[in-house]
């Protein structure tokens, strides 16, 4: 019910944006931002299952159903993204789609940045993600039915395929959907930067889901040790994100080439609050709050930090998209942005809980289920 109400708020925000006569750039950019953000959460939910399956680790088995359910959102988000692109969003978001705007730099990029190839890539990404997500979920359920090792090996095979596929597609999709908004500018680190942002948010949202499920009385088998490991992920990946952020920023700052610095110049001049807030919320706070060992083991630290990371990386994405797609005159955070995000959260919750209802929350027959119950970590 809460999910439906939140979706209604989102639709209301959309209608409000339309009636209030906000720039259509802003509306499209917000839809684009949120669909990308929540698709990436789905991708990381699946990545969580896949990467641990390859590593043959045991502890994550206790909460891998949540990751699988999060991946149910990939096709839903993809559909919204497709509607945004086909209903005229391409022209509003991407400068390179205007053939009369092409200067000598963009002309050279036409062989990559053209609409037919863009949509070919779009469908390749989503076909691969949806197919592999479906295969991994199916195999995981078959494994749960009879615990046959054959399915366990098959799960590892699909997981390996998915991790390799995501390694390439997460980078290329971030060029397509985010970096090409500022088509004149480029950074070779960008794909990794976006991926690290996706990674830390995805894991934080997974913890939030586990917390909500436990409050609802499910998943009692998840204990402090599992939360501790998720806390370590959030702590470490926040540092990893900051490392990539700084690597990109410092090289551009030091080299001081006008065509590169223009990117940060715009953000520092017109989006300075969000620019600095981004660093504080996504690096400084998680770094300091999650540093003590005991902080990673208790929900009342882990969950606020997870929510903080969730909001922080939304802001991160905001400052990646808005300066290029909307411009500083029209961009802002108002009812449209907040309402629409609430709507997407609602939709994401609905899809994920629907996904959770399709399979038992406890993967009892997984070969590592027993091991995950006895999992023990000291530091």
């Amino acid at each position: 019910m809460a999910g439906i109400a939140m979706v209604a708020i989102g639709l209301l925000a959309l209608v409000y944006g339309w009636i209030a006569g906000l720039e259509s750039n802003r509306i499209y950019a917000n839809l684009h931002l949120n669909s990308f953000y929540f698709v990436s959460l789905g991708l990381i939910g699946l990545f969580f299952v896949a990467v641990h399956a390859i590593a043959e680790s045991g502890w994550q088995v206790s909460m891998q159903r949540v990751g699988e359910a999060m991946s149910m959102f990939i096709p839903v988000g993809g559909l919204i993204m497709l509607i945004v692109f086909l209903s005229g969003g391409m022209h509003h978001l991407f400068e390179w789609t205007h053939e009369d705007h092409l200067d000598h730099i963009l002309i050279k990029k036409v062989s990559y940045l053209n609409q037919p190839f863009f949509f070919v890539r779009f469908f390749v990404f989503f076909a691969g993600w949806v197919l592999l997500a479906w295969l991994i979920r199916k195999t995981s359920r078959q494994l749960d039915m009879n615990g046959d090792l054959q399915y366990f090996n098959r799960l590892r095979k699909y997981s390996a395929l998915y991790v390799v596929f995501l390694a390439v597609t997460s980078v290329v999709s971030s060029w397509d959907w985010l970096m090409s908004i500022d088509a004149h500018w480029f950074s070779t680190l960008y794909g990794w930067y976006v991926f690290s942002s996706m990674l830390v948010t995805g894991f934080s949202v997974l913890v939030i889901f586990v917390f909500v499920l436990q409050r609802m009385g499910y998943m009692k088998h998840v204990n402090d040790e599992h939360i501790h490991d998720m806390g370590k992920y959030m702590f470490g990946l926040s540092i990893f994100w900051a490392y990539l952020w700084f690597s990109q920023y410092m090289l551009i700052w030091y080299a001081n080439i006008p065509e590169e610095t223009i990117y940060f110049y715009e953000r520092l001049k017109y989006f300075d609050t969000i620019f600095y807030l981004n660093l504080i919320v996504n690096f400084a706070l998680p770094f300091l709050l999650m540093m003590p060992r005991n902080a990673k083991r208790v929900y009342w630290v882990v969950i606020p930090v997870a929510v903080l990371i969730f909001i922080g990386h939304w802001l991160d994405l905001y400052q990646l998209i808005m300066p290029g797609a909307v411009g500083h005159e029209a961009a802002g955070i108002g009812f449209l942005e907040i309402g629409l995000t609430i709507g997407f959260i609602g939709l994401f919750m609905l899809v994920t809980f629907w996904g959770l209802s399709k399979a038992p929350l406890v993967p009892k027959n997984h070969p590592f289920y027993e091991e995950s119950l006895h999992y023990h970590t000291n530091y």
Partner: protein, 170 residues
């Protein structure tokens, strides 16, 4: 160790873990357990507190970061200002790599030296090797002898739990 003690070894980690619990139950003073690899649950069985080395690391790192940052800030603005490609003298982004490295260096060194000093180890330290096989396949327990002399009781308890090679160091 200025105390009288008795050592004995076990062949198996599970036997050791059970034995340590039993010895503690009997009220014997288990001074130390020496194992060739980490044994899960042994910290808890021995009732050890969590290491405070992490705090040393934090403060070492914090001092290192402060030293790195402030020293650069002083050098590049007061001590020896140089113009690098038109950058401001107080250029925070370019200070970050050195600040980070010094934080790591100070954290690591402070941990190593805190460890060596606290356990009186390091070059020239006198160490007691109870049994050379603890680096291979033996699990050794060290049990303190009370002033009134309870060697009999200790030996009895050790034999009950399956220990071998009981050695007195009185």
């Amino acid at each position: 160790m200025n105390k009288d003690y008795i050592t004995a070894y076990y062949y198996d980690e599970d036997v050791l873990l059970k034995a340590v619990r039993q010895l503690k139950e009997k009220g014997l003073e288990v001074l130390d357990v020496l194992t060739p690899f980490p044994v899960h649950g042994l910290d808890k069985a021995l009732g050890m507190r969590r290491s405070r080395l992490t705090r040393v690391a934090f403060w070492g790192g914090a001092i290192g970061a402060a030293v790195g940052f402030l020293f650069q800030a002083w050098v590049f603005t007061k001590g020896y200002p140089l113009n690098f490609g038109g950058k401001p003298f107080f250029a925070v982004p370019s200070f970050m790599p050195v600040t980070f490295e010094l934080a790591v260096l100070f954290a690591a060194f402070s941990m190593v030296f805190a460890f060596l000093i606290y356990f009186k180890l390091g070059p020239g330290a006198k160490t007691v090797i109870h049994d050379e096989r603890i680096t291979d396949d033996r699990f050794l327990v060290v049990i303190g002898v009370r002033k009134e002399g309870n060697q009999q009781e200790i030996e009895q308890a050790l034999k009950e739990t399956g220990a071998e090679g009981i050695t007195h160091n009185v």
